[in-house]
């Protein structure tokens, strides 16, 4: 690779940055004003590509393409406004994470709607009329359309900037972003402003999606990919900063382009393929930025949002009746192998539910009482699973030893990453945990000789007598029950109180002599360790594991479980995980459109039970008890 080649790659990278910028700018704008993290923003981008391809193919010619792009942006803007009016308006006052869950559900629904409308095939749009050719730069051909993209993003950036500085709408948007109370004082009709901002954000996403038509086929997988990338861009650039989004988009696109440009090189006798780093380049950038400058490159230091957290009722120890009840349930579960002799699948599902319960309970441990919203909890599940599996594979460890290796591996990871994570809070902490999970995922994915790469590790089966399902179920039950009881005891003990003290009021906690960061760091490690046990059980239950255990999907599943159950009670995650695991099992069997069904169910739950299933149940019970 010569310098000219690298320079050309760098210029070309700006074209990729444009696509990232449009979607990230919209996301950032919406977050700045409404404080909603709109996961469905990726869906709006995806819809943009689909609609543009449909319009361009149906109408044809320059009008079809360019007119189609413009029409698409408007259509998606209208869709955005509708989403805001129909759904989001109902959840502005809900806790931040519930809004996230609702928009995630929306993403699932829109994805299936697109499948139903456009079918499963990737749709490749036409090339841009008038810009089909290429320009010659540095002896190489750059597509004219790429050159157009390189120019259009800064143009849109300038237009947005002028709008925000000059117009009344712009001033209101800035006021809303920077000082909520002032907005209220100005007597602005908030709902109109929010709808307008959401429509503008959606418009930008639709425009970004439409403009990608000649470069990327419309595909059902785009939504999650794009939202992840956009998130990274927004966090790196600084939440709410449009210019920051552009700078971050350029940096990330450049790092990727250069990784590809450098390609295969020999470093000290070892050949390193830089093109493989494109998998995590953006997450590495994000991790570095978050550690060094938590508010993002151009963001303002975050105002403590934790104070807004919904006030929680004190956690109380179980009453005698409840304790007896709990023990009874445990006994019933222990008897399940005998009760369910005629349907062995009950035990299979039972083990999965138990694993989910431990996964969710450990996540709740840091999310609820710790107030640390981890978006990368699957990392510790995966480390546990790989710890156990690799102990078997490399050291031929017996099951007992391998199961002991699981929490150790997870604990080491959690101690390392937790140390950085607890220095942040809110969305930034969430994104850093996500970045760490992606980095672990990528190491495991790439380090084929050690971890088996994308295939994972195969042949991790339990030793007798645990190779019999009923016995394995009982073992899982014992481990999970022990883990849940342990975490419960910790939460009711001084350490758990110190965690909550640090969450409720970090300043007050420090002022009475609590080292909040250390407490939260250890809490992070405890949660990671327990989660590792869940991963270990998982490895032996399935007989094989692969990097998917660490995927974003898996982390998101954990979040959904915890939020379904509700953050405020200790039994929330148990119920949430059970309901989610069983629901997923049934829904997956019953319908082709299980994403949409799952999303629909989540939406209903979020709207009907804003405090989670257990919170909702307790409220109904309380109302019922009162005459």
């Amino acid at each position: 690779m010569n310098w000219e080649g690298l320079a050309f790659q760098a210029v070309d990278g700006l074209a990729s940055a444009s696509g990232l910028f449009f979607v990230a700018a919209g996301l950032s704008l919406i977050f700045g004003v409404t404080r909603i993290i709109n996961i469905a923003h990726g869906s709006l981008y995806m819809l943009g590509t689909y609609i543009a391809v449909s319009l361009a193919s149906a109408i044809g010619g320059p009008l079809g393409f360019w007119g189609g792009v413009a029409a698409t942006a408007i259509i998606v803007g209208v869709i955005g406004a509708l989403i805001e009016i129909v759904l989001l308006r109902r959840i502005y006052s809900a806790p931040e994470l519930f809004q996230l869950l609702a928009t995630f559900a929306l993403l699932l629904v829109i994805n299936d709607a697109a499948l139903w409308l456009w079918g499963p095939q990737d749709l490749l749009g036409p090339r841009a009329p008038g810009l089909r050719g290429s320009l010659e730069i540095l002896g190489r051909h750059m597509p004219s359309y790429d050159a157009f993209l390189i120019v259009i993003a800064p143009v849109v950036l300038c237009v947005l900037h002028i709008v925000f500085v000059r117009s009344r709408f712009g001033r209101l948007v800035r006021a809303a972003t920077e000082d909520r109370d002032m907005l209220g004082a100005l007597g602005v009709n908030q709902s109109v402003l929010f709808t307008a901002v959401f429509a503008l954000g959606a418009f930008l996403a639709g425009l970004g999606g439409a403009l990608q038509m000649p470069r990327e086929p419309a595909s059902l997988g785009t939504d999650l990919t794009v939202i992840t990338d956009a998130f990274v861009v927004v966090v790196v650039g600084g939440m709410g900063s449009i210019v920051g989004s552009y700078v971050a988009a350029v940096i990330i696109a450049e790092v990727k382009a250069l990784c590809i440009g450098i390609g295969l090189v020999a470093l000290g006798g070892v050949s390193v393929n830089f093109s493989k780093f494109t998998l995590i380049a953006e997450f590495l950038v994000m991790a570095v930025v978050l550690v060094a400058r938590p508010q993002g490159l151009l963001g303002r230091p975050q105002i403590a949002v934790r104070g807004e957290a919904a006030l929680e009722a004190p956690i109380r120890s179980a009453s005698r009746t409840l304790t007896v009840f709990g023990i009874a349930v445990l006994v019933i579960l222990a008897a399940l192998p005998f009760l369910a002799r005629s349907s062995p699948y009950t035990l299979v599902l039972g083990v999965d539910v138990l694993i989910a319960v431990l996964f969710a309970t450990s996540l709740h441990f840091i999310m609820g009482p710790g107030g640390m919203h981890s978006f990368g909890h699957a990392a510790y599940f995966g480390l546990g699973a790989y710890g156990a599996a690799l102990a078997v594979r490399w050291f031929a460890a017996p099951m007992g030893l391998a199961l002991a290796a699981a929490p150790v591996a997870a604990a080491l990871g959690a101690l390392l990453f937790g140390w950085f994570a607890v220095r942040l809070s809110g969305v930034y902490l969430a994104m850093l945990t996500l970045a760490f999970a992606q980095i672990i995922w990528s190491i495991i994915y790439q380090w084929q000789d050690l971890t088996g790469g994308s295939n994972g590790v195969l042949g991790i089966w339990p030793n007798p007598p645990f190779d019999r399902l009923p016995v394995f179920f009982l073992l899982s039950l014992a481990l999970v029950a022990a883990g849940v009881v342990l975490m419960r005891r910790i939460l009711l003990a001084p350490f758990g109180y110190a965690m909550r003290a640090g969450r409720d009021s970090p300043l007050r906690a420090e002022a009475i002599g609590i080292d909040v960061k250390k407490v939260h760091w250890l809490a992070f490690a405890v949660a990671g360790t327990v989660c590792g046990v869940a991963g270990g059980i998982f490895a032996f239950a399935k007989g094989s594991i692969s990097p998917e255990t660490i995927s974003i999907d898996h982390s998101v599943n954990g979040l959904v479980m915890v939020l379904l159950g509700g953050l405020g009670t200790l039994s929330g995650p148990i119920v949430g995980a059970s309901v989610f695991a069983i629901l997923q099992d049934f829904v997956m069997q019953e319908t082709e459109y299980w994403h949409a069904l799952l999303g629909g169910i989540i939406l209903v739950l979020v709207l009907a039970f804003p405090s989670g299933l257990v919170g909702g149940f307790l409220r109904i019970a309380a109302r019922w008890r009162r005459p």
Binding site: F8, G221, S571, S578
Partner: protein, 403 residues
């Protein structure tokens, strides 16, 4: 634990009650099928049509052993953990002892591992990794499609005939791409020792940054390119190659590039002249194929893809195997499948006793444009048996415990 754990118990107990207490007296032969329908719809949509057609054909002809075939189909969630759970649900819940399907290599391997451990019959339809029949092979697992190794070997003559020294490689960065490129490198080095690999682009699956990748390859000035891209990555790569006027003087080989699933979305932008493996469904004149295409079109008003053939042959193979075994007993079925002779749209093939790999082949040729659509020209059918290594080599690849 608190009161709410009770709900878990109730639900678990409820599951126990809802499940059928005893499998209904077997009027049908149940086959458990699992695949990544949601994650890989482009391929699996036609695959499903293929197996549904085969089921009707078999059942209309009176079924097997006097019973009708019934497929219980599930989504495998596109990840090994969910796939194993689904496999457990199919075997433990639905009571099937025959599993088939899967698309992704890692999912296929996980189910292979499950089948071997639980002694359940498994016909892996689509996953290409060599490990399913070789390194991780077991007594209970068979595979229908030609493996990565076989597909690479099919394209190899074109690579050798080009007599190019400098090669560039591009592949999706997961098991299939990695093993395809590893196999290509090894075979090239063996047959053409002066070969040189000047660039290697491992792109994230489904997220190729095509412009940069094409440029990086072009800058390395290779004379030949070996690509294992498919799906959306393939579309983007082809378009960028054309827009950038790149790789004009290079020979390009693209594994799977002629499969209608991946070629058709390109329409008139199909990369003319690239050597590919695939399935030119309307050009293959073998009578068996013509009959299959006619039946498929009559039924679906759509043309078959590779997935259609895979789905179709999967069920046909199972029907033939069960008929040959004279029973659905797992051990007998395994014995029947060893050396099972089949006939299909591509002609005859056999499930080899030595490694449980079928000798189903693929079409190798060059991409051409016809009426504004991509198709294959100068193609020939390469029998899978002709590209597999010698029995002695295969024996060293497969664990002894697999037989």
């Amino acid at each position: 634990m608190r009161a709410h754990a009770f709900i878990v118990g109730v639900v678990l107990a409820g599951t126990a009650c809802l499940s059928p207490l005893a499998p209904a007296a077997a009027q049908t032969i149940k086959i458990g099928e699992l695949n990544s329908y949601k994650s890989q719809p482009a391929f699996l949509d036609s695959y499903k049509k293929g197996w549904e057609m085969a089921i009707d054909e078999v059942n209309n002809a009176g079924g097997v052993l006097g019973k009708k075939l019934e497929v219980v189909s599930r989504d495998d969630g596109a990840n090994p953990g969910d796939a194993v759970r689904v496999a457990e649900e199919l075997t433990a819940g639905e009571g099937v002892n025959i599993l088939c399907g899967t698309f992704l290599s890692n999912v296929g391997l996980a189910v292979t591992e499950y089948a071997g451990n639980k002694k359940v019959f498994f016909l892996a339809a689509e996953p290409l990794t060599d490990k399913i029949t070789w390194q991780n092979g077991n007594r209970y697992t068979f595979r229908l499609r030609p493996s990565t190794y076989m597909q690479v070997a099919m394209l190899l003559p074109d690579a050798l005939a080009a007599k190019k020294q400098r090669w560039g490689l591009v592949y999706p960065n997961f098991e299939y791409g990695q093993s395809a490129v590893a196999a290509f490198k090894e075979m090239m080095k063996a047959k053409q020792p002066d070969v040189e690999f000047v660039t290697e682009q491992a792109t994230p699956l489904g997220k190729i940054d095509a412009g940069a990748v094409v440029q990086a390859i072009a800058d390395a000035k290779p004379d030949g390119i070996f690509s294992a891209l498919f799906g959306g990555d393939y579309l983007k790569f082809v378009r960028e190659v054309d827009t950038r006027n790149a790789l004009k003087d290079s020979v390009v080989l693209n594994l799977l590039g002629g499969e209608p699933e991946y070629l058709d979305p390109l329409n008139d932008e199909a990369p003319v002249g690239w050597s590919v493996t695939g399935y030119p469904w309307n050009e293959v004149t073998m009578p068996a194929n013509k009959a299959f295409v006619a039946a498929y079109q009559a039924r679906y008003h759509d043309y078959p893809r590779v997935g259609s053939v895979v789905g179709y042959l999967m069920i046909k193979s199972l029907a033939a195997g069960i008929a040959k075994a004279g029973s659905t007993d797992t051990e007998k079925l395994v014995d029947a499948f060893r050396g099972l002779n089949m006939d299909g749209p591509f002609g005859p093939f056999v499930y080899r006793a030595i490694d449980h790999q079928s000798t189903l082949g693929a079409f190798v040729g060059k991409i051409a444009l016809k009426d504004g659509h991509g198709t294959m020209t100068d193609f020939k059918y390469v029998d899978g048996a002709s590209v597999l290594p010698s029995d002695a080599v295969v024996k060293t690849l497969r664990p002894a415990s697999a037989d």
